[in-house]
């Protein structure tokens, strides 16, 4: 009985998503028991017509608002992470996502133009980060996507990104 209270309270005060391993140790339960408890909490929220629910994947959970009321949240919701981003910046993000870890030179080679400013913009938004250096003369910086990028795409790992072909298959189906 207390488990549901603890889970919902921890998610309410936690700084970002909480890993399931934390709950499993705290409440001495396994992952499937935890998922059942989260589902029960979500059912309670649903019955009470609450505007948020616990969103989870296999590894972590967080409290999020329901998508159907997104437009009604107006000014209280945070600004979109991609606000004002240009198509070149999105291209750069796609290249880093699929080719990571990747150097600035490789990105520019694929795009055929300089990509410095796009990289800086994406870095300032927290979508990409410096993930090391390539072991060649000059030690160029390698860029990778961040945890925030995964959160924004609702992915648990970068290996869960769809293959590039899947985007085009979907487009053909539509």
């Amino acid at each position: 009985m207390n488990s549901k209270k603890v889970i919902s309270a921890v998610l309410l005060v936690s700084d970002g998503p909480v890993e399931h391993e934390y709950f499993e140790k705290l409440l001495t339960i396994n992952n499937s028991e935890l998922i059942n408890l989260i589902d029960e909490i979500n059912a309670n929220f649903e019955n009470a017509d609450i505007g948020f629910f616990i969103k989870y994947n296999d590894f972590k959970s967080d409290i999020v608002t329901k998508s159907e009321i997104s437009e009604l949240l107006g000014d209280v919701k945070p600004p979109a992470i991609l606000r004002g981003l240009s198509t070149p910046a999105l291209e750069t993000l796609a290249i880093i996502a699929y080719e990571q870890p990747v150097t600035k030179m490789k990105i520019s080679e694929i795009r055929g133009v300089e990509s410095e400013s796009s990289i800086k913009t994406l870095e300032s938004r927290g979508l990409i980060e410096k993930g090391g250096e390539l072991d060649v003369p000059g030690n160029p910086i390698l860029y990778t996507t961040t945890e925030l990028f995964l959160q924004k795409l609702d992915l648990s790992s970068i290996s869960n990104l769809p293959t590039i072909g899947e985007y085009f298959n979907k487009a053909e189906e539509e």
């Binding site: 934390y22 969103k55 998508s67 997104s70 919701k77 979109a80 991609l82 291209e91 694929i110 924004k152």
Partner: protein, 235 residues
Amino acid sequence: MENIQVIENLKSLLVEYTSNTETQIANNLTMIFQSFQNKSLKEDIDNYAEFVLLGASLFELKAKRLLPQDEEVDWLDEVELIKDKDLAFARLLQFKAFTEVGLALAIKVKQTEREIPAFKYYQTSSLSVKPEIRYNIDITKFTETANEVFSRYKTIQGFSHIDKELPDLQVAIDDLLKLVDKRLNTTFEELVSSVNSSQEAVAFFLALLEAVRWGFIKAEQTNVNKEIIIEKNYE
């Protein structure tokens, strides 16, 4: 005919194009036209794409043969040229694909952002489980590590390297020009292979820049990963 068989025939036709007679080429092009009508081929999009590419390459070669020619055309060069074109086309496709993927990612992010995480301002990031680090060390390993640390400490030079005598740039320019004079063309990597220190290599590189600036030699690097080709400037 099986699709794969058709494609294999086309590939060999393209490779051995120069040795085929006009009649053979005409027959094969007719076969391509007929195969386009093959329904099963159309259904197999991968094979179809490869088929169209091969067909287009053959048609391009055929079209070039029909043009009046003042000089002998090296057909192998033509095939190489088509390969380069295909490569450029592939890169364009790759770039276009990433543009589309970028837009698809943006749409997905927009969808995800419809569910807004609860706003929290407590610093409780320690809730993420930290991996346990276990490091076993015995007395021998500890001694080895200590020796390594102290030996590294002893080799720290401080600022003494700044006072080192650096190579003379004028001498490096003279050496570089002498070496380039001896060989018709060479590469920077070849020139620096004989130097003894990294300082000398840097001096050689600066000498190269100076010599190019003064027009004594020409240097070309087509790609950052490729060698710097150097030759004497006879102009």
